[in-house]
Symmetry: C2
Subunit: 489 residues, 2 copies
């Protein structure tokens, strides 16, 4: 009887369990091998994608934006996605694709954006922003790819397409996957909310996976668990109704540039605090314990200053650099212009002066609240002698993912597998306003598994993305699918 049972067990083991185990272990190895073998081709394909100047902020690049959507759709199809579609929106199209293997299994929705920031100031680029070049750097001895969008976000969402391709070719995709790659992230994802609302069913998912953030550094990989929100306004101060000669009128009329500077100058006090009335009313009070924990990520002011050539740091009193860029809200002028800006000297009092001002928000501030408070405050401090116009641009909610959530744990484990070291949670200062939107419309949390570095110069001239970051990302993603599926079972 014992012998019989043993025989049955052996047969069962050989016929059922062993092949299953075997297949699983063998397949992930195979997947990782597939990735290794196709590295060069993956890079070449990314280079082609980076050549498309898909700048969403400037209507002059409309055609390039559409070309880029087409290219993304082609890649999705080739990788093995079904239902690939270039979905029209009131703005730039959103590329969709999916692979449903079993409706009972969990579904991962991969989000990315194929649009990029404008390239200016163009004269500061060492090679063309849309002529990708691979060069070695101190931080990237194995090479980095220089091009607008290389890190933000083409190089990062493209890792998901290639990881998906690898999983499909080696037949190990463990759950369902959907993709939405949009074309308006750099201008506030204006069409995305409507698209999500109209396609709730189609986009139904358990988690959203996004690579559009950075690691703390190569030695200390991190998963981003917090993002700041955004409030963005454009202001216009009008003095006289036409440009005036500063000699004939100077002294008697409000100069809109002087006035604007005075107004902006008063927005931050000498302790680095923002003076907009009620600005801090709803700011999350982070516990001392959490502050201690977060400051374990070593804050090296000297290295930080050196990296960006700063003479000195500046910020809100009583907070470390890490805190100032994550758990504290900010106010920055992103652009200012008015009067004569050409060569030489022109003695003019311009009619108007302009500025673009953005505020980064933390939990539990909302863009509606802060934009409203800013508008009221700015109107209040404007002298009677000028006309003021404040135009709100897009905004975004701040976001936090708890560090005991399965979404975080799967990402942490996946990256630990790829990097071979401990991965920590990290609250970033940037904004991906759509994380709050996804939660609201699709009821799912976002995992911010980004592979960039703070030195990538995103939004700046000479943006680049390390080749090893690119490959580490492609390697990590199949593990995320595996661990997430296991944790959800």
């Amino acid at each position: 009887m014992l012998h019989k049972l043993w025989s049955i067990f052996c047969i069962a083991f050989i016929q059922i369990l062993l092949p299953l185990l075997n297949q699983k272990i063998y397949s992930m190895l195979e997947t990782q091998n597939y990735i290794k073998e196709n590295k060069q081709r993956f890079l070449e394909e990314l280079i082609e994608l980076l050549k498309i100047a898909s700048v969403s902020a400037d209507p002059a690049y409309k055609n390039e934006v559409l070309d880029c959507a087409e290219a993304v759709a082609k890649h999705l199809k080739n990788a093995g996605a079904d239902q690939v579609e270039i979905c029209t929106t009131p703005g730039n199209p959103i590329v969709f694709g999916e692979k449903i293997i079993d409706k009972k299994l969990p579904t991962v929705l991969v989000y990315g954006h194929y649009d990029v920031q404008p390239a200016d100031p163009i004269e500061l680029w060492k090679s063309g922003p849309f002529e990708p070049v691979v060069k070695k750097t101190e931080i990237h001895p194995e090479g980095a790819i220089f091009a607008r969008g290389s890190a933000d976000d083409k190089g990062q969402f493209f890792m998901h397409l290639k990881a998906f391709e690898a999983m499909m070719k080696t037949n190990i995709l463990p759950c369902n996957v959907k993709f939405i790659i949009e074309g308006e992230e750099e201008v506030g994802s204006v069409s995305l909310a409507g698209f999500l609302e109209e396609n709730k069913e189609k986009l139904a998912c358990d988690v959203i996976l996004i690579s559009d953030t950075s690691l703390y550094n190569m030695e200390q990989p991190t998963v981003t668990t917090g993002l700041r929100g955004l409030s963005y306004v454009e202001v216009e101060v009008e003095g006289p109704n036409r440009d005036l000669h500063s000699g004939l009128y100077g002294g008697a009329v409000p100069n809109p540039i002087n006035v604007l500077c005075q107004m902006i100058g008063s927005l931050i006090d000498d302790k680095g605090r923002i003076t907009v009335e009620g600005f801090y009313d709803n700011v999350e009070t982070v516990s001392d314990a959490e502050r201690t924990e977060m400051n374990k990520l070593k804050d090296n002011p000297e290295a930080y200053k050196q990296e960006i050539g700063l003479k000195g740091l500046q910020g809100e009193e009583g907070y470390t650099t890490l805190e100032r860029t994550s758990i504290r809200p900010t106010l920055d002028v992103n652009g200012i212009w008015g009067g004569y800006t050409g060569e030489g000297a022109k003695t003019v009092i311009p009619s108007k002066a302009f500025a673009k001002i953005s505020m980064r928000l933390v939990p539990y501030q909302t863009p509606e609240e802060i934009t409203g408070k800013f508008v009221n405050h700015f109107k209040k401090i404007a002298p009677d002698s000028v006309k003021l116009k404040v135009t709100p641009h897009h905004g975004g909610m701040p976001y936090v993912l708890k560090s005991d959530a399965p979404e975080f744990l799967a990402a942490k484990k996946a990256m630990e597998k790829a990097f071979g070291k401990e991965v920590l949670p990290f609250r970033s200062g940037g904004s991906i306003p759509i994380t709050a939107l996804f939660e609201q419309v699709l009821g799912a949390k976002s995992v911010l598994m980004g592979f960039g570095l703070s030195t990538d110069a995103i939004h700046s001239p000479n943006e680049h993305y390390g080749l090893s970051n690119f490959y580490k990302g492609i390697e990590s993603i199949p593990y995320f699918f595996k661990y997430y599926t296991e944790l959800k079972k």
Copy 2:
């Protein structure tokens, strides 16, 4: 005996005095008739001159500047000047010409400038800045010529060329005349000082006659007896050594735009006084009597505000608009730029921010003193976290002409003849730094007999010059030559 004496007197009268008197009276009439008969041609010639885009601030217009010098030289020659020469300088050439009728007679040196301000913002022009158009306006029912340089200063120096032509053709030039028409006034007359020094003999004169200012208005013609000086600097604030993402870095680094705004915002206090240390140390204290006198020129705040579409006036406490724009120094930002200024929203902390800042000076401030004080003060208020660069541009001394000087009296009388009403002295807020230079190098006073209006929109889009101002100027000039020669005899 009586009879004999009577005969001698009669013969003398007929032979000597009558022809003299006759000739004089008849000639000035003839001159004024000549002007009337040639009005249309004068205008057509001016239109041709205004078509040449002689912008001195922008090297792209180098050829147009040279073309314009050639055109001026041709006009001088055709009008009857001798020794006409396009004098090379380290910068743009200076056009010279003269008519010496008798070395014992006084010499008037006519100064003007053929260069013009840049035309931008070009999109605000209703017709091309270098495509002159004559249009009627409310203030100019007889028409005004719209073009860059029409009032400042082509339309004004051209009056002298045409008045000279008229005096030559009708043979009444009563003294010697020299012309220097330069091409760098709008960029600080950088080559003029050297030219004057090197050509002291050639330019020797008793008075300098300049038309580059405005009348108080058409109802109240004035001669400008005061000008403000100028100190002009360009400032650059550098934070990080490259543009940064405002999310990732915002809060921890000095944003050069915020810093520049804060610095500029602190330069004028809430009483409208300039906070640069020692700024008012040498400012002329104008007597109460003179202030009462100057305020007789009716200061109509409502009309002033309406004319330039202002919501409200703004300036130093305790002074009228007329005083704020003449006897008080000022500080105006003439241009500011930094960060993203294109369409849409870009979340960037720029590496640098820039501004062009000018100060109008009054007697007895000097540009060296004020520029020095500004540089020191600006460095002092810059936070340690940023790098600061301050580059002084050209400067100019303030100028005053006493209202009992023969130079002023000749101009007053000449204009009273042409306008048929009382002409008052007027201190202007603008700067013609070369007036101080002329006095220093050539030892002669300048007479500022300008025919523009404050509504001419000089340095602005849609600059124009009234046709009646143009003709009144041509009519007045021969009278100035006559009265000045008589007063100096």
